[in-house]
Symmetry: C2
Subunit: 610 residues, 2 copies
């Protein structure tokens, strides 16, 4: 019996195994929070062709649209020969205008260039070796010397030179010759910038001749199957060597999957890509490289390497041109990684004179505070709530996700990505919903859903949307049509957001105090993160996710870490800046800070932060 996992994997399930068990055994990415009990509803897959009849679990967790589209919970599916299953869904950035597209192109200086060389045929008077004549012509053109080469290049130079009258195109990165090709291919010069998030991975394909972003795609980090946050990934990696390898394979496969998708969508061959920049938190950085994460787990927390690193694509098993150069931006410390350096590079206004705070929102949330005296950075475990995970009806910001909520006494209006019936709620929708619930009196500042029977002020339309569930109560944002599921926010969901918000908030207070200023002295607060640009300043001010300063000093910049990776791809000066920056920033360990613990409990209240 065989099952096809799209796009091109075949697996053979064992007897009696559920689809989820088979997927896990093959290290394929599937979320498994309830351990196959069918209660979490997270192990959604999509079946194409033959679709199993919906189980009770499917009906409970999936709405009609999903069931009709072939979605099922993998833990309830029994494999059938010839089944075809799709696991994760690469998304093009289709939500409004991508923040990345607004980025202004910096001066182009990628270090990577293609040079078309016209050499000369050997004669009795000119018996220079094939490679010697290539290097001579190239050095004349670029003014650089090229001392090193590889057997790969030497192996092909005789044929390439003779293929087209002693002309060829050399692809060079600084003083290294990466590739030679027959003919003039200088028009094709591509690179990719990768943002490895704990939950999501995004890749931008860039034309390095023009500085244009050709396409951005993203998908779930396949490592999610092994744990939702960095702490659980580290624990899993430490179990045994196989686990660490599984994590390394998962993230490399996620990136390769996105590279396939970029090739499919843009027709730019993966082999045409000669430069990659990568940003990620320190744990993602280590897991991608296959480095020991055990010293990230105990105090004093130390990484294997903070310095910027350079590898070839072959070394990292990433499927662009094997000779391509891969640059990893430096880490600041064990829990503040190259993604924060990337975010600073991507939002350089935070380095201007004055006091500036940068909040990079994600499963792992990083804070960077720059004053005229110091630069501090820390990380705080927000959990996956901001990315729509760990929330009953939470989902990533894609079609069908509620992205905005307005609550009036007349009821609730939801704005859904793709203008369709909602199938869940994403991070930005959740934050707005909770602020709206707070403002309309559905919840109080402790985050508690009010008891509709004793509340005197609540409008009837809202009152009837509050209903009891197994534990506590929930508030209905949208009623499902036909047999579709209602989208609700439960007491537990609110608690998840409060924990995330509390962690960020306490982190801010700690950093500000360590820098010797107060929150009111902040000249600006910049929020970054894929969904940050969809947040409304009023909502985050109201729930106290950011300090209570005037709205015009709150900025949102989209995924600044990814922008930083793109800038580093486009310009080596940005790489050099990153290489200086990481040494100057003090890494603050919140885990060891009593200031942080003291602030944490107070910070869960949904109120302005001052």
């Amino acid at each position: 019996m065989q099952i096809t996992i799209l796009p091109n994997r075949i697996i053979i399930p064992k007897d009696q195994e559920t689809l989820m068990e088979a997927l896990i055994r093959h290290h394929l990415p599937v979320q498994n929070i309830c351990n196959g009990k069918g209660t979490c509803g997270k192990c959604k897959v999509r079946m194409t062709g033959y679709v199993s009849p919906p189980s009770e679990g499917d009906k409970k967790h999936l709405n009609n649209i999903e069931l009709q589209a072939g979605f099922r919970l993998a833990c309830t599916v029994l494999p059938v020969d010839g089944m075809v299953v799709e696991l994760n869904f690469v998304e093009s950035q289709d939500r409004k205008v991508s923040a990345l597209q607004e980025m202004k192109t910096s001066t182009l200086n990628p270090g990577l260039e293609k040079v078309y060389i016209q050499s000369s045929k050997p004669t009795l008077e000119d018996e220079r070796g094939d490679w010697d004549r290539v290097v001579d012509a190239l050095s004349t053109f670029t003014g650089r010397s090229y001392e090193k080469t590889s057997l790969y290049i030497l192996g092909k130079v005789p044929d390439i030179l003779r293929e087209d009258k002693y002309t060829l195109t050399a692809t060079v990165f600084e003083e290294k010759i990466l590739e030679i090709e027959s003919g003039d291919t200088t028009k094709k010069l591509y690179g990719v910038a990768v943002d490895v998030g704990t939950t999501s991975v995004a890749i931008a394909l860039i034309d390095l001749n023009q500085g244009d972003i050709l396409k951005v795609v993203s998908t779930e980090n396949e490592q999610t199957a092994y744990g939702a946050d960095v702490i659980s990934r580290i624990s899993f990696a430490m179990e045994n060597q196989e686990s660490a390898i599984a994590l390394r394979i998962a993230i490399r496969r996620t990136i390769n999957h996105l590279l396939d998708e970029l090739e499919r969508q843009t027709k730019v061959g993966k082999n045409e890509i000669f430069k990659m920049t990568i940003v990620g938190n320190t744990t993602m950085h280590h897991l991608l490289l296959g480095l020991d994460v055990s010293h990230l787990a105990v105090s004093p927390f130390v990484s294997v390497c903070n310095r910027p690193l350079e590898f070839s694509a072959t070394e990292l098993g990433l499927e662009i041109n094997p000779q391509a150069v891969i640059l990893l931006l430096p880490n600041i410390g064990s829990f503040v990684g190259g993604d924060t350096i990337g975010a600073i590079v991507g939002a350089p206004a935070v380095l201007e004179q004055g006091n500036h705070l940068l909040i990079d929102l994600g499963t792992n949330c990083e804070l960077f505070l720059k004053t005229d005296q110091t630069m501090l950075a820390c990380s705080t475990a927000a959990g996956p709530a901001f990315e729509g995970a760990g929330i009953a009806h939470g989902m990533r910001a894609k079609k069908g996700a509620i992205e905005s909520v307005t609550i009036t006494n007349g009821g609730v209006v939801c704005q859904v990505i793709g203008d369709q019936e909602p199938i869940g709620i994403c991070g930005s929708g959740l934050i707005e919903a909770i602020d709206e619930m707070l403002q309309s009196g559905v919840i109080n500042k402790q985050g508690k859903i009010v008891d509709p029977s004793i509340s005197e002020t609540l409008a009837d339309e809202l009152r009837k949307r509050i209903r009891p569930v197994e534990k506590g109560s929930e508030f209905v944002l949208a009623y499902g049509s036909d047999q579709g599921q209602d989208i609700t926010i439960g007491q537990k969901d609110i608690g998840e957001l409060q924990l995330a918000k509390g962690a960020v908030c306490a982190g801010i207070k700690t950093l500000v105090e360590m820098a010797g200023i107060t929150v009111t002295e902040l000249d600006s607060v910049t929020l970054s993160g894929t969904f940050a640009s969809y947040l409304k300043a009023s909502n985050i001010l109201n729930i106290g996710l950011v300090p209570n300063i005037s709205e015009d000093r709150i900025k949102t910049v989209g995924n600044a870490a990814h922008v930083g990776a793109i800038l580093a791809l486009l310009n080596l000066q940005e790489v050099a800046m990153a290489g200086e920056l990481y040494k100057k920033i003090n890494h603050i360990e919140l885990g060891g800070s009593t200031t942080f613990s003291n602030y944490f409990m107070d910070s869960m209240y949904l109120e302005r932060l001052s």
Copy 2:
């Protein structure tokens, strides 16, 4: 049925196959000049344990000592299960004092160094990454920056650092960190210098802390099985890709075999060797690297690469430390390679003021002429006669080889390496024998063995040593004892030496003419080559192998190419010198020179060269 090929290869012969056929099918090195007809006697192997009964062919070509020692011709041996066979014999340099040992140690500057680092334990105040603290300590010590590293090093640094209280030894080559080890291993710093000859390969193991040569071993190039000279190797490589691969494997295995032997003899682990320098002619260079040799075969003759090259041991499949640096000295042109550059580096007096000629004797013989106006180099195919091959009783200069011959009217006195019964004659013995035969009247200056029945001047003792054979006649140098074979020099052997000598001689005349000087204007003639230091100036002057200048201007320097490789191992300045030198030397193509062809026929006479 299995046969063990020492030291550790198992092969399975097919039905009806001879041992030689099985060896060839497995690409194992065995000489096969007569194509298995049993007439050339070159496919000698040694059997240990079970030894086949000697065949007629064995008895004809091998003497008693050899038969008793288990030597047999592979073409007459029928495989038997469990047979154990030794193919080639590594030799320590046991002939008088090795010329290498006399080399004066140059200033030590190998570029390679080991640094013992004492780093510090991470604390809450010092959370630098593991690798960051290593690089910081190292940079403080050496004053250099280390930008690049490998996953290999990053993968092991956490454990190595913690193994011995945050101390470790780093092995660095220029700005690259090759290896890290726990504890202080700075006392162990080794390199090897390799001379890849067409016929022989020699490796010297050097202590790079002291500059001492610890051991030199040499053996036959396994490629010899596929052809005796560079032309036949090139033809074989061009047959198909498998042939080219067989040649690459053969030379790499020869080197690895010698590395095993060095480890066995010196107890210095192969893994302790971090630097290798290689010299070889352009064909050997290309075959070792697996480069296309087809353009070396047609005019204009062009190599793939003349420039100096640097690789890691892993890239070349050579079994020293996988991270070790391998430097290949540059080639001058398609037929004058890094061995000539090595010879010049190893005998730098040829660069002094005046006119100097360097003759590197070998299967492929290179000439280098330096005048105050120009530097010229050419190659001439001497054939394997100088190395004792292609001669009926020829052998490499090892135990049992006649190395010196004195002929008087009273008879012939032979000096044998190892003071034993002779089993053959080596190159230097052959040259002396031929001069002595010339001086005593056994042959005339045309090289013809005189007819004893009509010669009037020849002493009786010599006369009776001349006897007729199938083609022409032969002269007995040594009568075999018991059933041992007589060692003789036949008309064909003399012809082989005349061809070799003629090629060298015509090359000298051509170069000198091109430089606009005469042979008498040469201030010095330096002969290099493993056996050159065993040559007597009078002999080579008499037969006209060198120009007829006063004996005191004739110098012999042993294997100067190997000395050059050793100097390049010891001192990067020698590498830099080689890197400048190859660009300044004009490569002369004798194949296209009518001057050379005109001189060639005249040059075969055994007479003084003026």
